[in-house]
C-alpha cells in the first residue's frame, strides 16, 4: 500500500483539504499533518464524506490525520 505524508501546517482553509483531495487521487492511504482545529475538522469531514477511515494523533508537532480505506 502506497502512502503519503502531506505537511499542511500553517496552511489556511481550504488548502489542507485541497491538498488531501489531490493526494487521495494517487494514494490509498494519506497522512496529513496540520496545526489547527479548523483544518482537523475540515479534513475529518471531507474524509468521512468520502468513506475514509480516520485516525488522529496529536502532539506538540501538530495533528496527524491518517486517512485510509
Amino acid at each position: 500500500m502506497k502512502d503519503n505524508i502531506i505537511d499542511a501546517r500553517g496552511r489556511a482553509c481550504p488548502e489542507p483539504v485541497l491538498m488531501t483531495k489531490k493526494a487521495m487521487e494517487s494514494y490509498s492511504c494519506v497522512k496529513v499533518l496540520v496545526d489547527n482545529v479548523t483544518a482537523r475538522e475540515n479534513i475529518k469531514r471531507f474524509a468521512k464524506n468520502n468513506g475514509y477511515k480516520i485516525d488522529i494523533l496529536e502532539n506538540d508537532e501538530g495533528i496527524l490525520l491518517t486517512l485510509s480505506r
Binding site: I5, G10, R11, A12, C13, E61
Partner: protein
Amino acid sequence: MQDKKHIIINGLIVGILSVLLVKFGNPVNMGICIACFIRDIAGGLGLHRAEVVQYIRPEIIGIVIGAFLMSYGKKEFYSRGGSSPFVRFVLGFIVMIGALMFLGCPLRMVLRIAGGDLNAVVGLIGFVVGIYIGIIFLNKGFTLKRTYNLNKAEGFLFPLINLVLFIILILSPTFIFFSQKGPGSMHAPILLSLIVGLIVGAFAQRTRLCMVGGIRDLILFKDWYLISGFISIFVAALVGNMLIGKFNLGFVKQPVAHNDALWNFLGMTLAGFGSVLLGGCPLRQLILAAEGNIDSVITVIGMLLGAAFAHNFKLASSPDGPTLNGKIAVVIGFIVVTLIGYFNIEKDLNVKIKGGIKIEG
C-alpha cells in the same frame, strides 16, 4: 444532520438577531453587515467624510470580543501570521470596493434576499460566479503560503483595539463623527447591538460560519456543512422579516440598495472572487482576526481603508445607483485580483513527501 446541528442553530440565531436589530433601530435588511459596519466605523473615525454613514458600530466590536473570548476559553486562540500579508491587505481593500458597489457584504446579501430584495438575488448569482472563478485558481494551486507562529501578545492587540473603540463610542469625544441622518444615524441601542455582536461572534467562532466557504465547499467538496448556516440565516431572517412587517418583495425602492443589475452582479462577483482567495468572507475574517490571526487583522485593516477610499473617491454606490468612479474601480479590482491569483499559483505544491517530521504518540 447531527454534525450540522450547531451551525444550523448558529444560522438561525444570526437570522433572528439581525431582524431584532432592525426592529430596534438598525437600517432595514442591515441587522448585521460587516462591510457596511466597517465602513460606518471608518466614517465615525473620520477616515471618510460621507456624513450619512458614520457611526462606531458596536456589533463589530461585539463580534470581535465574543470570538476572542470564545477562542481563548476553548484554547484555540493563538497568534500567527506571515501568509502574504500585503496581498491580503490588497484583497481586503478590493473585496470592500466590490461589496460597496453592491451595498452589502455576503451576510447582508443573505439578509437582503430574506427581506424580499430581488437585487440581492442578482448579487448572489454574481457571488457564486466569483467564487467559481476563485475555485479555478485554487484548483490550479493558488496559495498565499503558510502562516507562522507569532508572539502571543500580538494577537491581543486587535481585540484590545476594539475595546478602545467601545470606550470611544461610550465617551463620544468631539473628534468622533456620528451621522445625524441616513443609515449611519439608524441604530439599535448600544448595549443591545453589543450583546448581539458578542453572541454572533462567539457562535461563529465555534461553527466557522462563513458565507464564501459555504458555496465554495459545496462546489469544491460537495460538503453541505457551511452552507447549512447560510441557509438557516436566510430562513430565520425571512420568517422574522415577515413577522415584523419588513418583507417587501421586488426590485425597486429597496432599503439601502440600488437596482442596477449589472453592477450588483459585478460587485458581488468581485467580492466573491477576492474572498475565495482570502479563504473566507468578511465575517470570517473578523472572527479569525479575533482569534489571533494577524493576516486576517491586516485583511480587516485593508477593508477599513478600502471603505474609507470608497467614500473619499466616490466609489461606493448609493440608493441612486453606482458611480462612474465605482465602475472603474471594480474593473481595476478584477484585473488586480486576477493578477494576484495568477502570480500566486504554486505549480508543484500539492503532493510532496516531506522529510524530517517526527510524529510520535
